[in-house]
Amino acid sequence: MAIEWYVVLSALLFATGAMGILIRRSPVVILLCLELMLNAGNLALIAFSRMVGNQEGQVFALVVMVIAACEVVVGLGLIVAIFRRRLPLDVDELRELRG
């Protein structure tokens, strides 16, 4: 298959994720959308790596996965903490950091 398919799929996934972040208000969904964007990036990396024929892109993809795992841990931890304090799970209402 030509590289274009992979890139287009990656772009679509990325756009879906970005759109989800912009329109959804639940932190859980926003986290999911973030994962989607990261994995869109991963897909593009691996696709280009195949095309070029060396392994560097795949190594980067692995690194991104590790980072994604860390980010999920922190993100979910935050969400649980918010939930425990009986705060609304809605990013529009959690706006104490307004300048």
Binding site: I21, I23, I30, R95
Partner: protein
């Protein structure tokens, strides 16, 4: 052991004592702290004797040892050791300081017993003695300045010892500020010495000075005058004397320690130590001598009218130090040091007796209220009388021999120095009158209420602890002695200390009787023999003539005091009315406080206020608040972006990256 090893031990014990009592204040019982403090100084005294014996084992010319523990500072041609100089002068000072301090510690052991700050007191007291010993043993100007400043701090701490007493903290600050003025003078003098001679070391400075300077060259005069600023501030000479009377706010043993035996004589020591410079600058020496003379007369006249017992003795201290300053300035070095020794005996004794009486008066210091203690407190009264006789130079007592030796020397130098003889004897007359004014007010007469209580019940009067100056009630929680007082009659340590000093005050002058013996002069001779003035020796005959005049002056003074205060008690009131302007002048202490206030304090305050109104408000505040306003304004603009909506941040982020991507796309194609 060598003399320097002994001298290091002299320094070590008070420092250790101070640290142990300070660190161990929770663990040590109060009496143990007092015992440690006293023992530390006693050991130091014993080591001082060791140093003396070791020094006496040398040939007189070889009695000069230096020793350095380590290098204190070394940079760019400057080399300063943590070094000491052991010679007859420093050993003499060490012996008097530690000897009298031991007795004062012993006295405090009893006197301060009911004070909550007992450990603190002994720690300060030991530190004070350590500083003073560092000062007199210093082998170069840097260490001298270190000791000098330590002494200033220690006196501040001790004067403000009852720190809830506002007048005491004020007096402490006053003493400290005036002492720092003196420190600045001393430091500047040291700078000049280093610039001219390239060294801080006593040996090198005094060795090089005669070749480097011609007589009365302006640099050496400047050095001497700056040294005098330091000496006068420490020794309470005009016009830096105002702190000494206020320093009486401290506990009485402190008054005895600081204002009799040790601190105030540091200036005399400094002049004696740097006598070679003063020989090179006769102008500065004459200025010093005349200041001493003025001080002895001014202070003596104030002492005539002061009604506060301790302050009266403090003015007498100033006056006696005036004699010492005159002595060491005109070249009567050993006579000046001899007077320092006898003075520390009888003045410490007088303060101790005064402390005992003040305790019996439940902390009231007003001599107008005291009378009849001769019957109530026999021991204290006897000691007060002995101290008074020695101070008034009664024939045969210690003060008799020492004071006249200075004046005999002045007479021998002749010329202008005759003034010192005439006015010196006038001062002696004043001394006898004001001393016996105190004695005749306190001892005879019908007993006052407190004395009556002591006679009838044997108990010391209890009183509300009130500040004698302001009449405020004192806070006794933080170490004010409170209603419990200790008098010598009921406390053996006080009795022992006073008894020893009493004996010394009576017979201490016999070590140096004209024509009989001259222990101190011959001991100190190796230090001063390089001064041409040391060649001048009054003949034995003229000294005895001086002594005869001194005896007559003293007896006339005592007789005058008897006439004024016992035989015709109405005369002082009559005199006060007749000579109202003079009396007002004296009661207001010659308006020195007011003068300093007008000449220095107010102008400085005015400059400060002006700077506050203009420079501070416009320039400094303008800069500071201008910066703050700029940053705040810029922040206000950026704040708009911080809406708190996470999704709007995300939008900005994504839009931004999209914009960047678009830009690169456009650029690349």
């Amino acid at each position: 052991m060598s003399a320097t090893a002994w001298a290091w031990l002299v320094l070590l014990f008070p420092l250790l004592g101070s640290l142990v009592t300070a660190v161990g204040y929770r663990a040590l019982p109060a009496r143990a702290a007092g015992a440690i403090g006293t023992a530390a100084i006693a050991l130091s005294f014993a080591c001082g004797i060791g140093a003396l014996l070791s020094l006496l084992g040398d040939e007189p010319e070889a009695r000069h040892h230096v020793s350095a523990l380590w290098t204190y500072a070394s940079a760019g041609g400057l080399h300063v050791d943590l070094g000491i100089l052991v010679d007859p002068l420093s050993v003499f000072m060490v012996l008097v300081v530690t000897g009298v301090s031991t007795l004062i510690h012993l006295y405090s052991f009893g006197y301060m017993q009911s004070d909550a700050g007992y450990h603190r007191f002994f720690s300060y007291l030991n530190f004070f003695v350590f500083s003073m010993l560092l000062l007199v043993l210093a082998g170069n100007f840097v260490i001298l300045i270190v000791g000098w400043a330590f002494v200033g701090f220690a006196s501040y701490a001790l004067i403000s010892f009852w720190y809830r007493r506002e007048t005491a903290t004020g007096a402490g600050m006053k003493a400290f500020v005036i002492n720092v003025v003196g420190d600045v003078g001393l430091v500047l003098a040291a700078f000049l010495i280093f610039r001219e001679l390239g060294s801080f070391d006593f040996e090198q400075v005094f060795g090089a000075a005669p070749e480097r300077f011609s007589v009365n060259e302006w640099t050496v005069t400047a050095i001497c005058l700056l040294l005098l600023v330091g000496a006068f501030a420490k020794s309470a000479q005009l016009p830096f004397h105002t702190w000494l009377a206020d320093a009486m706010e401290g506990p009485t043993p402190v008054s005895a320690l600081i204002h009799a035996a040790t601190m105030v004589t540091a200036g005399v020591y400094l002049i004696a130590r740097t006598h070679i410079l003063f020989v090179l600058s006769p102008t500065a020496a004459d200025i010093a001598a005349f200041t001493g003379l003025a001080t002895l007369l001014v202070a003596g006249s104030i002492a005539l009218v002061v009604t506060d017992l301790k302050r009266a003795i403090a003015y007498s201290t100033m006056s006696q130090i005036g004699y010492m300053v005159v002595g060491v300035s005109i070249g009567a070095y050993s006579a000046g040091m001899f007077h320092f020794m006898t003075h520390s005996f009888f003045k410490a004794l007088l303060f101790m007796a005064a402390g005992s009486i003040i305790a019996a008066m439940a902390n009231d210091q007003n001599i107008d209220r005291m009378s009849g203690f001769g019957k109530a407190m026999r021991f204290t009264s006897a000691m007060l009388l002995v101290g008074g006789l020695a101070l008034a130079a009664f024939p045969g007592t210690s003060g008799f021999f020492s004071k006249d030796e200075i004046l005999a020397f002045a007479a021998e130098r002749g010329g202008m120095y005759e003034i010192f003889v005439v006015l010196g004897y006038a001062g002696a007359l004043l001394t006898a009158v004001y001393t016996f004014r105190l004695v005749f007010r306190i001892l005879p007469g019908t007993p006052c209420r407190e004395a009556r209580e002591l006679i009838d019940t044997g108990h010391v009067a209890h009183g509300e602890p009130v500040n004698p100056v302001t009449g405020e009630r004192e806070d006794t929680d933080v170490g004010f002695p409170g209603p419990e007082h200790h008098i010598a009659e009921h406390s053996w340590p006080m009795k022992v200390a006073m008894g020893v000093l009493g004996v010394l005050a009576l017979v201490g002058g016999l070590v140096q009787v004209p024509g009989v013996d001259h222990v101190i002069a011959s001991f100190l001779d190796p230090v001063f023999h390089d001064s041409p003035l040391a060649e001048i020796h009054p003949s034995v005959g003229s000294e005895w003539v001086g002594l005869a005049i001194g005896a007559a002056t003293s007896l006339v003074g005592i007789g005058l005091a008897y006439l004024l205060y016992v035989a015709r008690p109405e005369t002082p009131g009559l005199l006060r009315r007749r000579l109202r302007p003079v009396h007002t002048l004296l009661v207001n202490k010659w308006y020195f406080d007011e003068l300093i206030d007008v000449l220095i304090v107010r102008p400085v305050l005015a400059v400060g206020r002006f700077a506050d109104r203009t420079f501070e408000r416009i320039v400094v505040d303008g800069l500071a608040s201008g910066t703050a306003e700029t940053v705040r304004g810029a922040g206000g603009i950026v704040r708009v972006a911080q809406s708190g909506f996470v999704r709007s941040y995300a939008l900005l982020l994504i839009a931004g990256f999209a914009g960047l991507a678009l830009y690169f796309l456009v650029v690349s194609s």
